[in-house]
Symmetry: C2
Subunit: 119 residues, 2 copies
Amino acid sequence: MSVYTPAEVVEETGFSLDTLRYYEKIGLLERVERNAAGQRRFSEEDVGWLGMIRCLRDTGMPIAMLLRFAELVRGGDDTIPDRIRLLEEHDRQVQAQIANLAERQNYIHRKISYYRSVL
Amino acid sequence: MSVYTPAEVVEETGFSLDTLRYYEKIGLLERVERNAAGQRRFSEEDVGWLGMIRCLRDTGMPIAMLLRFAELVRGGDDTIPDRIRLLEEHDRQVQAQIANLAERQNYIHRKISYYRSVL
DNA sequence: CGTTGACCTGGAGTGCGCTCCAGGTGAAAG
DNA sequence: CTTTCACCTGGAGCGCACTCCAGGTCAACG
């Protein structure tokens, strides 16, 4: 069971130290362990959870929904069906984003082609 | 050469009236025509340009880059190569976004599968 | 002609998600 | 030992892209 210093977690997750503190403050990260001096010592589990956060944030999930998800995770195994529903819902959002981007990209391609044609 | 009232443009483009005014204020939309009473009357061209804005905004282009693009468009045909470069650059961004989303989506799918497996 | 409703302006306010700062403590390197 | 460095806290500030508001003007319908 290894333990991570703040600097290591910054390195691993790509979140800034301020962001990690912010996530803890708003309750997205459950009260992180501290050493004698009061400095954070992140667990393997914390880092894993941050990986999940990274994924969901990067796919556009708002903090508020992440908080709901975090609540569910804390709620124990009974909440697994709810977690599945939440992720499926988000998955549909992601799918829609991809589809939308692809469509817009087409428009951009057509525009570029047009510009090329008038050169 | 038809002309559009603000309400019609809101309807057509999906931008709010406030957003249209904002775009004009910051120079993203060139000074829009007015009727005798000082009310906006958008041209076909304005609406077309708003379509372009819609596309670029929805693919994540920041306002600042849109302003650069708008400058180029105003700069006349000599700027077409620059416009192509700008759009190609943006296109790469869009491509990266799509790839990133697809990868993250995989992670989400795996998580959902995992949750299903432990039910 | 009156009333309703679309529209106008300048400027302030909002929401999100961080990011920065001042002022401090403790630990580790030379 | 001392200096440097990582880290701490609470709270203020920021950047982006709108969004809202007060207080007003016109216009069009019945």
